[in-house]
Symmetry: C3
Subunit: 308 residues, 3 copies
């Protein structure tokens, strides 16, 4: 009898311990904003998330998205999301329209990751690459930090960090976020998709690898491979801004930066396995006055034997 | 007999597991400094705290306080502290007087949060808003990183991070920090408190919302409400530096930035529910040459019907 | 019988809980790069590490090492490593040679800390101060993020963060990193070690305390003490760039910045207990046009009574 009671007690104790311990292996909460880290805004978001669940793993993707640059925010999500495990929750706040009628949503991708934030184009690239499993509008009547109802300007703290933390910690299920929206209603920014026509592939410069001045494209390895370019083969690259040529170069396709001499240009596959152009240990973008965005196009062509 | 012994073993094992797991739900340690993150100073602080307790949740409020700007440090604590749960421990190091006779203290607020750092004015706004429950001087004889006695210049690492981590982890109780000081002895920076006189409220510009150029005031919602301003009503705002008028504008009171056209000024309640002034999607402070600090005053008046 | 089975179940449950909970007290993973935090590179590294073990403590040393500045990366490791507990794993990526033949290694110090990264000089100061217990080359055939084999340019994410996380979490033992290399083969940057000759000690300026403009040297307290300088005693300091004198001053040796008036120079022991020179609340380096690096030397001499 005594042992039975003790065993019950033990069972309870053990299961409690397991529950607490398991929670810590829960989903990560990853934050992206254009707030910078010089003031207290990001820390207030961390505090709200920690208050929801002290065992949450909270990580900063970046808070240095240029002010209101939704496109760049979209690209940073695209660049990093798949390196985080399934179930991870991304809270993204680049929100020029805070306080207007733009919707607040949580998008679930086919890969099982969650994206919390304003539905203003931030989820364009994630939605296109990973596919939308489901889209829900946040019901702020039930999913809002207690006592924050009078604050209209900081959804990142009062709504997004709070909902994201509740979702990551398992305090709510995805279905409890709010009502479903049509998947195809997610707001997308228009841009030139990568295409091939004969010996040429076209795309855009979605972003620069700023720190090093490398030019990244949205042309994936698979499409580039259709040109049948071997390592060390030369290709021609044209850069256009609003349809007007800014620069034209010929450079070899290399697997590594060491494939050319210091300062020389090369074409390579970047860390996302998209085509990129760089000067080895130099700043290609500054050198050729290349910038990035949906109005910056790139055109890569196979070079005939004679031109080699 | 056998079962009893096994049960005892199990009980021990379970309680150990619970103890370890529970520790991880302990108090957060939140760091604020003017060190920047370009060198190793902040990481040394993290390492010391992690060494005290590997399960501590360590978070960075900001390390970008301008050099020696105690006032701004005080404001960042005021801005964020209440978004962290009761029991949280804030280690704050903006310390032009390191190595002089300024005291090292841990302040406990009435809300049950702890503030560790030099007693040089950093806790002015926290003490005033949240109230001082108790103030204790750190006894460095017992609360100092082992082996750091010969270092005189890095209290942030050797004393504050160490004591903060010990307090947050429960390794010491608050009473073990050191001897009690009179609550009212906490060093405070003098500044103009928010006041109303007839149809006008006065206060200071404690800080700019730098990233966006919005002007924040220390005038709280409750005081502003005494003017009985409805949404969309216009108010007059005067900005003064050392008593001299720098700018005077008339702008509507709005709940959201979408309430006015892009580039137009508005008065609103910021994320702390204090009165603020901005240009919608513009930089009000740069536009009107407004800066911040205790010598920057602001005066907001109800505008008569005729002036609308 | 029933109880026995229940007890076995309980034992299993408890040990699981303990295993999970204990993992969280595992080794820290500390990241240092020259990537900055404006893009997604660092977050991809965090995601990979978190994917290896969601309970890992992941901390950023700094990501603001100037591009390709291996020396400064080496110094930041030297500055911080010993404030992290034994067993900590440092992933360091300052890697101008990514994709070339430079080796990828994990160095274990005599103090039991692990350093993961390219063998390009990054581990110079750690190896010299702490001693090399063992050096192993990373076998990328077994220690590489699954599916990353086609990416050649981001070893920080695909190899170093992955191996570091596996080592810190205990998923692999140090021996499983790859084959042993001769300890003395670790690549080291050459520089002038600190030496004494009579009443003068010589060394270099490995780094500036940038934020404050203080000049740090590689002259340790023990060597400086051989000059038998008491507090407040004056010393002469010469600064040389490539052997040519840039500045010469006389300043007192002080324990704290408060020992001299604001703006006045002083010699002190910095937070690593190495000799340093500063203007109290001023920027000594800017004032005297001093920079840092292996070609910046410093010479400190005892001043005769007459010169005081």
């Amino acid at each position: 009898m005594k042992l039975t009671r003790l065993s019950r007690l033990l069972a309870l104790a053990c299961f409690s311990a397991i529950t607490i311990a398991s929670a810590q292996a829960g989903s990560a909460l990853v934050l992206l904003t254009d707030f910078g880290t010089a003031d207290g805004a990001v820390s207030a978001m961390h505090g709200v998330a920690y208050g929801v669940d002290p065992t949450l793993h909270i990580s900063d993707l970046t808070h240095q998205i240029p002010d209101y640059d939704i496109w760049l925010g979209a690209y940073r999500l695209y660049q990093t999301a798949n390196y985080w495990p399934q179930g991870s929750v991304f809270v993204s706040v680049v929100d020029p329209g805070v306080g207007t009628s733009r919707k607040s949503v949580v998008l679930k991708t086919k890969g099982g990751r969650y994206f919390v934030g304003p539905d203003n184009g931030l989820f364009t690239l994630i939605a296109e690459r990973d596919g939308v499993e489901e889209l829900r509008e946040i019901d702020e009547n039930v999913n809002r930090l207690a006592g924050s109802g009078e604050s209209y300007t900081f959804h990142g703290r009062d709504v997004y960090a709070y909902v994201g933390a509740r979702l990551a910690s398992g305090a709510i299920k995805y279905e409890q976020v709010g009502p479903m929206l049509p998947k195809e209603s997610v707001v997308k920014i228009a841009y030139q998709k990568a295409v091939r026509s004969g010996n040429t592939v076209r795309g855009i410069i979605p972003v620069l690898d700023i720190k090093y001045g490398n030019v990244w494209t949205n042309i994936p390895k698979a499409l580039f491979n259709e040109l049948q370019i071997a390592e060390h083969d030369k290709v021609q690259i044209r850069f256009l801004h609003k349809g007007k040529q800014v620069s034209k170069i010929v450079a070899p396709f290399e697997h590594t930066f060491g494939g050319v001499a210091k300062g020389q240009p090369l074409v390579y596959l970047n860390s996302l396995l998209d085509v990129a152009v760089a000067d080895s240990q130099g700043n290609f973008a500054a050198h050729h006055k290349i910038e990035s965005g949906v109005d910056w196009e790139v055109e890569i062509s196979k070079v005939g034997k004679a031109a080699k």
